[in-house]
Point group: C2
Chain length 360, copies 2
């Protein structure tokens, strides 16, 4: 006699009563509808999939039954048959970063219109969690995978991505994986920004940004270097602080930079979360912007716009980023064997009051 209470699955004993009403009513199935409409399940399926080869009056009957029973095709069963889930797995380093959430929001709008739903998970830049998520998404048989990975090099992630064998769209990252890619033109943006500061007369410009083992960090540094090179200016490497995109990192590095024997006259926050850290440090040290030090930030935020003084920023179109990302994914889904495509979103420099010629 079985005593396994752990698997006491409730059986719907009721013989498919037509009306719902009761809590936990078993959702009606295609068979229920077929029976109610006096047709076969196949015909119901033809109706729900808008197959035109159905007599109008039959279709009407079926539709009526569907409505009466509140029938909703079971997407799970559909996926089982069609081997399509209409699900896109999304990996975000930090969902609460407004840059990322804005991107996914606009991507979602495009993908939803095409019948796709987003599975979103925040990875906290934790590689193990990321690997687990890739595997979980693979088990769920998502049709596509997109996101900002925490690393471009860790073999565990690369292997997980490769074994998942799912159409992949890399955002702000570059991995040799036969994947589509979309990225902000951080090279161009940082180039413009640095040019601007150099033109103002700055010769000691600090850059705080993420590690050069990710494309966005690498590109920002590249733009910074290119500007110096174009102006035939040597770079003091101690002014480059490329370790993390965290607010706290910007906070501590700003303090360190300003306590140098020869401190920078301008600081670039190379990441949208970092401006807050820079400004906090400046407040703490009692330095005025731009009198004591000029400040420039990558990524438009309300803080940059409404700070006192308003902060000059490198700006790009987040909604466009999300839309283009979604389009790339859609065309990949349509044509899984096409060549990988890369896309770049341009940047512009928004001049405000936080940058001025350095004090003499």
């Amino acid at each position: 006699l079985s005593e396994k209470t752990s698997s006491s699955r409730r059986k719907p004993l009721r013989p498919a009563a037509a009306s719902a009403g009761r809590p936990h009513a078993r959702p009606s199935t295609i068979k229920d509808v077929a029976r109610a409409a006096g047709v076969s399940a196949g015909t119901v399926s033809r109706v729900t999939s808008n197959n035109p080869t159905v007599q109008p009056h039959v279709r009407a009957q079926v539709l009526a039954a569907i409505k009466r029973l509140g029938y909703r095709p079971n997407a799970i069963a559909q996926s089982m048959r069609t081997a399509e889930t209409k699900l896109i797995g999304c990996l975000v380093a930090d969902l609460s970063n407004p840059l990322y959430s804005a991107i996914f929001k606009s991507a979602e709008a495009v993908l939803a219109a095409a019948g796709y739903t987003l599975l979103i998970a925040s990875t906290e830049d934790n590689i193990e969690r990321e690997v687990q998520l890739v595997e979980a998404f693979a088990r769920r048989r998502v049709d596509g995978l997109m996101g900002v990975m925490s690393t471009e090099t860790d073999p565990r992630l690369l292997q997980a991505l490769e074994e998942a064998n799912i159409p992949l769209l890399l955002m702000e990252r570059e991995i040799d994986l036969n994947a589509d890619g979309i990225a902000t033109d951080h090279i161009g943006g940082m180039r413009q920004a640095t040019d601007h500061l150099i033109a103002l007369g700055h010769r000691r410009i600090a850059l705080i940004t993420g590690p050069i083992t990710t494309r966005s960090g690498r590109d920002r540094v590249a733009g910074y270097r290119a500007a110096h090179e174009a102006a035939s200016l040597a770079i003091d490497e101690t002014l480059l602080r490329c370790e993390s995109l965290a607010t706290t990192f910007a906070f501590t590095e700003t303090q360190r930079l300003l306590s140098m024997a020869a401190p920078p006259t301008a600081i670039i926050a190379g990441g949208n979360l970092m401006l807050a850290g820079v400004l906090r440090a400046l407040n703490l040290l009692g330095r005025a912007v731009p009198r004591d030090v000029s400040v420039l930030s990558s990524g438009e935020t309300e803080l940059a716009e409404l700070a006192a003084p308003p902060v000059t920023v490198i700006r790009w179109d987040l909604a466009a980023f999300g839309r283009e990302a979604a389009s790339l994914m859609l065309s990949r889904l349509q044509n899984p064997d096409g060549e990988p495509r890369k896309m770049v979103i341009p940047c512009e420099l928004i001049l405000r009051k936080s940058c001025a010629p350095p004090a003499k």
Copy 2:
């Protein structure tokens, strides 16, 4: 030799170390594993579900085959059998609102640990889209539904929610639907805020917030009224602007308020996005804070912290909100027939420099 390169798929550079090398390789199934391990499918299933009634050496064989084939249980098929998807549908009015994204981020952490994945969709406060999403989630057979609905009253949404017949967790909303609920204590928060302004001597305090047809708007107004009542102060109803939580609404209403014959001496931004609108309007009109007008905002943001002057805010713990929401959902999933539970997240007032006694 044909030049039709339409299917010129790049082959993996490496000869695919672990798994089947062919691109688009059909994911291996439980049968493949069974065959490879020389056992039956049932036994493989017992291994993957950690059923202890399997001989150690058989288990080892199976595990080896699983690894060799890169087998991943198909979650779709599992869902089909178990009638559980381990999916939670999430509806957000605006995913790019940092308050919401922070909440879902922390909820995700808790739910993921329990094996659940979030389906997230942004509704843009569009009821039709919301209804469609509820139906889409229902078709996908999500195990639970949570989110911030755009309305508490629209019959289309209420009906969709009721017919979906899915465990429901309402955030910042109150609908008579046998659902669990979690909300911020906006009554208490706004009460403290208003008390503070009254104590400073303000008698004309404006409140800009969302409509009272949603719980958060209603509660904020309630707290505001309670404070006035406690101080035996009459309320000028023209100082209440309760229509929308949008930044632009705050912007235009601030301008209107300040052009009144008897303008307010303090303005409360009753929504975290609204502070930017208020400050923009103040900048535009050249009013100084707090000399010309005191400003107070509901919801901590970097802008509030780093604005000049820093803005006094009503703050609450977003991570706790998300965690508690997740816990409510989990216990509901465990016990679908339990009584609905309600939870409230407390608020505190963070005093900064944006509030001062009104000018004489």
